[in-house]
């Protein structure tokens, strides 16, 4: 019998996956099985709408190595839908499961529904230039990024919980794991961001942006070029397709042109403000407010004005 499966190694995201799973259940009337890497997660997921939660117990802790075990669970049910949390590890697992199922997969689905017996998802293309509806025949796999959905409320009846012992990936040895953290900074949580691009001529000049950020009580973010090519700011602060995706109340972009690969990471911001000396820079089309001018002149004036 087919079913709906969810998996994420991230406890918060694992709960969020149950929201689209419950929606799909309304159309498909199939049971939801939540696969989890801890007993605590499994028990909690069983109270949030999963009909069954399975704790995949293993001596091996390497998340990516659970792909085969997840495939083994999912393949017991024919023609299923598998929703996997879209972390980098989750995407690795999801594509493995999809390949083994010989299934289609949609990456970073923003919406999901059943249409004519197929899974219909919305997602971005060309680094955010376009949105597309992608139709996936069942069985189907979809990854969903964190915070795409809210976690569901407690269900009226709790599901069952079981433990299955599985083995991991023996061919890969995991050595040191160093938490990177973001030194206390969570760009995703900041309500205001001042984002810098290569309009700044040297690293020291970022002081102008830091001063403005301080006046606004904002955090500093940047483009890929500033983080990866210039190494002026940590990689964790760069916004864009392969970097962070943020939705602050204010995104103040300084000296960045607004290429689509960057904008996809910030375009859901409530208000976007641009400061750039090139009137034709695409950032102005993407901005609510903007100043055409030299950032070296504008920033000190703006910082002073906001300080008053």
């Amino acid at each position: 019998m087919p079913g709906i499966f969810t998996f994420s190694e991230d406890s918060a995201l694992a709960k969020q996956l149950l929201t689209p799973a419950l929606e799909l259940k309304k159309s498909l009337n199939q049971p939801i099985t939540a696969l989890a890497l801890s007993e605590t997660d499994a028990k909690e997921l069983a109270t949030l709408g999963a009909d069954k939660a399975v704790f995949l117990q293993s001596a091996d802790k390497w998340v990516d190595g659970f792909a085969e075990a997840i495939y083994a669970q999912v393949s017991k049910a024919v023609g299923s839908i598998v929703l996997i949390g879209g972390t980098l590890r989750g995407k690795t697992v999801a594509a493995y499961v999809a390949a083994k199922l010989n299934a289609g997969m949609t990456t970073d689905a923003k919406t999901l529904k059943i249409d004519s017996g197929k899974l219909l998802a919305t997602r971005v293309l060309y680094a955010g230039l376009a949105l597309c509806d992608e139709e996936v025949a069942l069985p189907a796999v979809a990854t969903i990024r964190a915070r795409t959905f809210l976690a569901p409320a407690a269900a009226t009846t709790a599901g069952t919980v079981e433990t299955v012992t599985v083995s991991g990936e023996s061919r890969i040895t995991v050595g040191e794991v160093t938490p990177t953290g973001t030194a206390g900074v969570n760009i995703n949580a900041a309500s205001k961001l001042v984002s810098v691009g290569r309009g700044f001529r040297k690293k020291e000049d970022l002081k102008l942006a830091e001063d403005l950020a301080a006046a606004l009580k904002a955090e500093l973010a940047c483009t890929r070029g500033v983080a990866e090519d210039e190494h002026w700011l940590p990689i964790e602060r760069y916004i864009g397709i392969s970097g962070q995706t943020v939705k602050p109340d204010l995104y103040l972009a300084v000296g960045l042109s607004g290429q689509v690969q960057h904008m996809v990471g910030c375009r859901e911001s409530k208000v976007i403000v641009a400061i750039n000396n090139d009137e034709r820079a695409p950032i102005f089309e993407a901005a609510d407010y903007g100043i055409v001018g030299d950032l070296y002149e504008v920033l000190p004036l703006l910082t002073a004005a906001l300080g008053k």
Partner: protein
């Protein structure tokens, strides 16, 4: 000395794609092709590994008829030989089809120590191909590498994940995807560009891969594709006096409740 294979995709340069305002359809008539951004990092990494350790780099690509335009660019970036599969099925291929084709071609080409891909293509960014190829070939898979080294038959990789860096070690053949931060792809020198025309390229016919017709049928089908249009206010202050502009912006920020 590692024998490396880099898989790359020839994509449209999204910077040249315009959105038609009347129906939000995409106009790619002026878009030129490029080797997908992150795949250039994969090619560069393979070239660097071989420059350091000896060995060889081949490249493999699957695309429509336009894929031939990529061969010289690819070869100028380091690979000794490029294998290419040109087939109309690539136009609508999903990651399942792409991985089926690439995995079948790799089986035909023989064993490689490292099979390298970019973390995702710059057009679809499915981020599936690496994992799928590994699954189909029954090889271990290391995704999102920010650092790679080879010692004998051992590959060491540092993965960069959302919240940690993870060091992993693999013995024997492995499929790897690299992040863009792993290196800065070279801008091929005139010598490398000229040298590329002397390097071999070989077509692999899709009909020689032993694939069934359904292997080339996408399971994920793009239905409507529409340009993303942002609804923004576009209030731009461009007086010559910067102080006037700043004063106006301050009023705007206040009206939005942001200051």
């Amino acid at each position: 000395m590692p024998k490396c294979l880099v898989c790359y995709k020839w994509t449209l340069d999204e910077q040249d794609i315009k959105i038609r305002p009347e129906d939000l359809s995409l106009d790619s008539s002026r878009a030129k092709g490029k080797i997908s951004d992150f795949d250039r990092n994969a090619i560069e990494e393979a070239a660097l590994l071989v420059e350091k350790n000896g060995g060889a780099v081949d490249a493999l690509t699957y695309g429509t008829a336009t894929v031939k335009q990529s061969l010289k660019d690819c070869l100028s970036r380091g690979p000794e030989e490029v294998y290419w599969i040109s087939d109309a099925s690539a136009e609508n291929a999903d990651a399942n089809v792409t991985a089926n084709v690439l995995a079948a071609a790799i089986r035909k080409l023989g064993q490689y120590d490292l099979i390298l891909c970019g973390e995702g293509s710059s057009d679809q960014f499915n981020q599936q191909t690496t994992s799928r190829i590994a699954a189909l070939l029954g090889l271990p898979c290391v995704t999102f590498a920010s650092k790679l080294s080879v010692e004998g038959d051992t590959v060491k990789a540092t993965r960069k994940l959302e919240d940690c860096q993870e060091d992993v070690v693999v013995k024997g053949s492995v499929v790897i995807s690299v992040l863009s931060e792993i290196n800065k792809p070279r801008i091929p020198s005139m010598k490398q560009v000229l040298g590329a025309s002397k390097k071999p390229n070989e077509e692999i016919k899709i009909s020689d891969l032993g694939l069934k017709p359904e292997d080339l049928q996408p399971k994920a089908v793009r239905k409507s594709v529409k340009g993303f249009v942002m609804q923004r206010k576009n209030v731009i202050y461009k007086e010559t006096n910067a102080a006037d502009n700043v004063a106006k912006l301050k009023i705007s920020l206040a009206s939005e409740g942001l200051i």
